[in-house]
Symmetry: C2
C-alpha cells in the first residue's frame, strides 16, 4: 500500500483527480488530498466537490510515497505558492514517483525541475515546458524515470495504468 | 475614435474586460468583444456575463486599431486556437497598440512574439515569458513601443490610463 499526496486547488480538472484517485485506491493505495484554499473541499472546474484531507503544512515529502498533480487551472495557482513549489521540487529530486497530467507539469517550471527531463502536458503548456528546457513529447503517456506525465483526460486510461504500475 | 478588438473565452477575469471596456468607451472608443465559445456571451471566472459581438472569422487586423487581451484562464484557452494566435501575432507585428493584462501575455509565447520584448504579466506567467526570451519586469504597467502590459486587477487604474492614452 502506497500513500500518495495529491495537490490541488479550485478549478482542478475534476476527472483528473476523481479518476486517478479511484484507480489508485482500487489498487489498494491511499490518496491524500492536500489543499489550502481556506475550505474543507475543492470546487472542481466542472462543478465536482472534492474533500480536502490536509494542508501542505501538515506533511512533508518523507510522509508520502508518491505525488499526484491533476490539471485544470489548479496548477497555475499552485505554482504561485512557494510551499507547493518547494514540495514538488523535493519530490521530483527525491526520486519517488511523481504523476502529472494536463496543466500539472506547469509547476515543474517554477520548481526548476523541468530542464533535461522528458515529459508531456496539455497543448498550451508544452511550449512553456520546452522553453524551460524539457524534452517535450506529444504522446498519451511519457515515463522518464520517476516522472510520469500525460496530456488530457482522454489519456486517463493509459495514465492510470502507468501510475498504478509504478507503485507496485 | 478607435476600434479595439478584445479577444476572450469563458473563465476570463471579469474585471479585466469590464473595467478596461468601460475606460476605453468613456474615452470615446469602441470595444468589439470577439469569442468563439459557441455562445452569444462569455461566462467570466467570477460569474459575469459579457456579450460577444463577433467571431474571429469575421474580422482581421486591418479592421481594428488596437488589440486587448484580458486575463483569467481565458488566454490559456486562446493560445490553443491557431486563429487567435495568428491574429495576435499579426497585431503585434503590425505595430498597432496591443494591451495585455494578467495571463493575457501567455498568448505572446504561442505567437512567437515575446522574444526580445519588455513586458510584465501575472506571477505564474512571468517565468514562462522569461523562458520565451522576454525581458520581464515586475511593475504595474510596462510600455514597450506598441506593447502595454500589466500584472493583475490591482494594476487596472494605471493600465486603463496608459491604454486610453495610447489611442489618443
Amino acid at each position: 500500500m502506497s500513500k500518495i499526496a495529491a495537490i490541488m486547488t479550485d478549478f482542478v480538472e475534476d476527472i483528473e483527480i476523481t479518476s486517478t484517485k479511484e484507480a489508485l485506491e482500487n489498487a489498494g493505495n491511499e490518496v491524500v488530498v492536500i489543499s489550502d484554499n481556506g475550505k474543507d473541499h475543492v470546487d472542481g472546474k466542472q462543478g465536482s466537490t472534492i474533500s480536502v484531507d490536509q494542508s501542505i503544512e501538515d506533511g512533508d515529502v518523507s510522509s508520502f510515497d508518491a505525488l499526484l498533480i491533476p490539471g485544470g487551472f489548479s496548477p497555475d495557482q499552485l505554482r504561485t505558492d512557494d510551499r507547493y513549489v518547494d514540495f514538488t521540487k523535493k519530490f521530483v529530486e527525491s526520486g519517488k514517483p511523481v504523476f502529472a497530467i494536463c496543466h500539472g507539469p506547469q509547476i515543474f517550471i517554477q520548481a526548476g525541475v523541468a530542464k533535461g527531463r522528458t515529459m508531456t502536458g496539455f497543448t498550451s503548456v508544452r511550449p512553456d515546458l520546452a522553453n524551460a528546457g524539457a524534452n517535450v513529447k506529444d504522446e498519451e503517456v511519457v515515463v522518464d524515470d520517476n516522472l510520469i506525465t500525460s496530456r488530457t483526460p482522454d489519456d486517463l486510461d493509459t495514465f492510470n495504468k502507468e501510475i498504478v504500475n509504478a507503485l507496485k
